[in-house]
């Protein structure tokens, strides 16, 4: 196997109660990849992400971080493994009772021995990295949706994580802001050397940043393709995948017509 796998998913089945969402998921995310999870709306992309960060338990199968089995690890060990992980949630999920600076500072307070003044300095740095210099003392409700996304990103990178998870980073953003966010993700990956796992619908993003990907299909309830997005677009055997990647249509509408 080339490279050094960062996250390995083995034979994963995801279910809510009896409702099986996806089965037989098998893939590996190499170190330094920008790994795109694609698929129609409601097929379970966010759920897959939640499994990867331990918010949901697999119905079957295992998830590895490097050589370590994440699924069978106990709570304390998981917390340790997740310390090198940053997550940007679909809704931003900033702590609404804290200012932006406090949001970014909290993980630093929890997991480093920095003094308060230093923490404040690092928090300001992270905020200026995402273009929010001067907004330290704003509360989340005082800034726009796009700014909340960026502030969420600043919090996600607070501890210089090795893996960054993004759930639809550009959802709800205008094309220019979403392009900027893409650039920012690329930039951060370059400079921090992080692995990135991103759920997105945006074709532009998929091709601009993705180095590897999987495609989840709600009808067969499993992944029907994996590989670099550009390659999938040009060479995939599966008409659904080609269709999705060529025209960016989501769901089955176009397939039937």
């Amino acid at each position: 196997m080339p490279g050094d796998a960062h996250i390995i998913v083995r034979d994963l089945t995801m279910a809510y109660g009896d409702f099986v969402l996806m089965r037989d998921l098998d893939f590996r995310v190499e170190r330094g990849d920008i790994f795109v999870i694609m698929g129609g709306s409601g097929c379970g992309k966010s759920t897959l992400l939640r499994h990867l960060i331990g918010l949901n338990e697999p119905a079957k199968g295992e998830i590895f971080y490097g050589r370590e089995n994440f699924t069978s690890a106990d709570r304390a060990r998981r917390v340790e493994l997740l310390r090198s992980v940053g997550v940007l949630y679909q809704s931003g999920a900033l702590w609404s009772s804290m200012t932006l600076a406090e949001n970014v500072a909290l993980p630093l307070q929890e997991f480093t021995d920095l003094r308060p003044a230093q923490i404040r300095e690092v928090a300001s740095l992270k905020l200026s990295l995402v273009g929010l210099r001067g907004f330290e003392d704003y509360y989340p409700y005082q800034i726009s949706g796009g700014m909340q996304k960026r502030a969420g990103l600043a919090r996600a990178i607070a501890l210089d994580p090795e893996v960054l998870f993004f759930d639809e980073p550009s959802a709800g953003l205008d094309p220019i802001s979403s392009k900027r966010l893409d650039d920012l993700i690329l930039e951060l990956r370059e400079s921090m050397g992080a692995t990135v796992v991103v759920v997105t619908h945006e074709l532009a993003s998929i091709f601009a940043i993705g180095t590897n990907s999987i495609f989840l299909d709600p009808e067969t309830r499993t992944m029907i393709a994996s590989g670099p997005p550009l390659e999938l677009r040009d060479r995939s055997q599966d008409p659904k995948v080609r269709e999705f990647l060529r025209r960016g249509r989501i769901g089955g509408m176009e397939e039937v017509a």
């Binding site: 918010l55 997550v87 809704s91 931003g92 609404s96 709600p218 009808e219 089955g252």
Partner: protein, 370 residues
């Protein structure tokens, strides 16, 4: 309007206005035709007299289509307006997810009883698990290994303490008043009106002060905790804490319990005082007792044991209310109605907890001779 064409097809003639405001038309006549023998070969539409239409027509057509296909009869849509044809195609484009609807299908009575029982069982287990977790976390709190923000705690103390004084004053003054009023009516028969002071004093200090403060706080803070934690769940703020390795139990629940448990005894003390004040108001205005006599009588009646017992009860109620509020908040489903349900059930749960504890205390204190 229904008819058969020469070649055995069912012809549905649509005329007039088809508007949702006019209600949805019945498909029963069409279904009867479909079921008739010989079965129609296919279904056709004729719409030359159709005036205007909206979703009412499309809903009708979709149902007719489903019924016909269910009987293996073809539907020829070429007679329909182009717009309606396109909408129908769109509506049928994405195949229904089979088990998505199955999960919500109507359950029979027995099935519902069964699933209610199971969910009651689960909810009890969840409650016990939460209680266990909270206790463990408290163990660590005593060892100093629990992290939360001091500023959060201070803010919470302000919210559950100082800001609750107004409502506690009002309620407890009135309760004192009522107790004295009821007591006076009875005691007057024996000419023992002075004992109103004993009645009000002992009742307030031993039980009623703590209980009233608890009920006010259940409605105020229990609900607030559940709503706060519930909406944090909706906005994924709780998830963000968890993945960061910060236990929501330490970060959110512990400061709330500490705040309420430390403020409740003080609120109770304050409630006792105001209740006695309410009693004194009646004693002085209605029963012609002097301030000094009333005060002396109260001081003689109330012992330090009563006072401490009441405060201890308040302390326990505080813990129960905070636990119930946080538990319901963390259990909330991720929607705004989920938060509403969590808030309601937090108030109900805390009041049930508090009243049960009150009953238990009554028995235990009696057995201990306190």
């Amino acid at each position: 309007m229904l008819g058969r064409t020469a070649d055995g097809a069912l012809l549905i003639r649509l005329a007039g206005a088809w508007r949702l405001s006019g209600g949805l038309p019945d498909t029963a006549p069409v279904e009867r035709e479909l079921a008739a023998t010989p079965a129609p070969r296919e279904v056709n539409f004729e719409t030359s007299e159709l005036e205007e239409w909206d979703s009412a027509l499309v809903t009708f057509l979709l149902r007719v289509t489903e019924r016909s296909r269910g009987r293996g009869i073809d539907v020829d849509r070429s007679g329909l307006p182009a717009g309606a044809q396109r909408l129908l195609t769109l509506a049928e484009a994405v195949a229904e997810k089979e088990d998505a609807r199955a999960a919500q299908a109507d359950a029979s009575l027995l099935e519902r009883i069964g699933s209610r029982t199971i969910s009651a069982g689960t909810s009890l287990t969840e409650m016990l698990a939460f209680l266990g977790d909270a206790t463990l976390t408290f163990g660590r709190l005593l060892g100093g290994g629990v992290r939360f923000r001091r500023s959060d705690l201070l803010l919470l103390i302000q919210q559950v303490g100082a800001e609750a004084l107004g409502i506690v004053s009002l309620i407890c003054f009135l309760v004192g008043l009522i107790l004295a009023f009821v007591g006076a009516a009875q005691l007057q028969q024996f000419g023992a009106t002075i004992y109103v002071a004993n009645l009000v004093g002992v009742a307030m200090v031993r039980d009623v002060g703590a209980l009233m403060a608890a009920i006010v706080m259940a409605g105020r803070s229990g609900a607030a905790f559940a709503a706060e934690l519930g909406s944090m769940k909706v906005t994924q703020e709780i998830d963000a804490l968890t993945t960061m390795g910060i236990s929501p139990l330490e970060f959110l629940v512990v400061p709330r319990i500490v705040a309420l448990a430390s403020m409740m005894p003080l609120l109770c003390l304050y409630a006792d005082f105001l209740g006695i004040l309410g009693g004194a108001f009646i004693g002085i205005t209605m029963l012609d007792l002097s301030v000094v006599t009333y005060a002396q009588q109260t001081i003689e009646a109330v012992t330090l044991g009563h006072l401490l017992g009441g405060m201890f009860k308040a302390f326990v109620y505080g813990i129960l209310i905070a636990l119930a509020g946080c538990l319901r908040g963390l259990q909330a489903t991720t929607s705004s109605s989920g938060v509403g349900i969590a808030t309601t059930s937090a108030v109900v749960t805390s009041i049930v907890f508090v009243i049960s504890a009150c009953g238990l205390f009554a028995v235990v204190f009696y057995a201990l001779g306190l």
